[in-house]
Amino acid sequence: MQALLSWECFLFLWVSRMKSLKVNGVERQFAPDVMPGTLSALLEMLGVGPATVVAEVDGRIVRRDEFHQTQIKDGQQIELIKLMGGG
């Protein structure tokens, strides 16, 4: 019993250290040491390629040339949007 509580306690502490971002509607968890610090780092981590990507961070539009200087924080909502074929 003692051991189980400790494990739960450990799990709670571990989960509570995790950072999260909601990217394109999906919640994503990041351990603190891999949590991307900027939009550029997030795109690199996700492998997002197209040159026409634009972002919204908590509803604020961010151009691609501003990605590297745009800090991202735990709990933010991020939309990554691109141009694609359409009529």
Partner: protein
């Protein structure tokens, strides 16, 4: 063929082409060349995080074509304005094809939300090309708020039905002081020729080219039809008459009475 001018920019081609539904980026690029188009529409969507490197537009030469982002998927003015601002941030240009289509079955544009969005976007510095039903009153209201064109539909998007709205299109063309771009439902070169013959300034085609068995040949056929229709309009077509009018002389017949 005289040139098309929209918001101070001049174009040799009067055929706008959409970039959706092509089987591959390469086929799309070849079809765009064959169409002679200088304005191509694109959409904005979320990046697919499971396929994040996908870039269907990589073959589009941005020096050759003016990208015209649309607001497809917007169900009201607020969504359309948001998409327009994202498109501007993505492309660096301020042109937008405004589409507000709350009804997913017929994809008919909402006149109320379209007018509301157009007012906001024009004030925000956008060059607005609104997709509308063929409603002459709405077309006038939009031109009055400062849209660069009006884009009335021939029939529902992607339906290939042709100019079902011809009577209303003729009224819009007669009354409009901005270019009239007939958009949607144009399934055959003969449909676009008809639109150009009645005086449309340009047409927009996507599905009919992209989903043809040979999109490149079909793009070439649409190019010819747009040019033929425009030339016919410029040449001054005669109105239909109820009775026959003989083409050959009515004298000198080989009979005595």
């Amino acid at each position: 063929m005289d040139k098309l001018t929209i918001a101070g920019r001049t174009f040799d081609s009067r055929l706008l082409v959409g970039t959706g539904k092509f089987s591959s980026p390469q086929v799309m690029a070849q079809a765009l060349v064959a169409s002679g188009a200088q304005i191509v529409t694109v959409a904005l969507r979320r990046v697919d995080i499971d396929n994040p490197a996908d870039d269907t537009l990589r073959e589009i030469d941005r020096d050759r074509y003016l990208l015209l982002p649309n607001t497809s998927g917007a169900r009201d003015a607020e969504e359309a304005v948001r998409l327009s601002r994202l498109a501007r941030a993505a492309t660096g240009i301020e042109w937008v094809k405004l589409e507000v289509t709350p009804d997913p079955y017929y994809l008919l544009p909402c006149p109320v939300e379209t007018l509301k969005a157009a007012e906001i976007l024009v004030k925000d510095g956008f060059v607005v090309l609104p997709y509308i039903n063929a409603d002459p009153i709405l077309a006038k209201r939009l031109q009055d708020v400062g849209t660069a064109t009006v884009m009335p539909l021939g029939s529902p998007i992607g339906s290939n039905q042709g100019l079902k709205t011809r009577v209303s299109l003729e009224i819009i063309i007669e009354q409009s002081s901005v270019p009239v771009v007939v958009d949607a439902g144009l399934g055959l070169p003969s449909h676009v020729a008809e639109a150009m013959e009645i005086g449309a300034d340009a047409v927009l085609v996507n599905t009919a080219i992209a989903t043809a068995a040979d999109p490149v040949e079909m793009a070439a056929a649409f190019k010819l039809a747009v040019e033929a229709g425009r030339k016919a309009y410029e040449a001054g077509p005669r109105a239909p008459t109820r009775n026959a009018e003989a083409s050959s002389p009515l004298t000198g017949f080989l009979r005595d009475s």
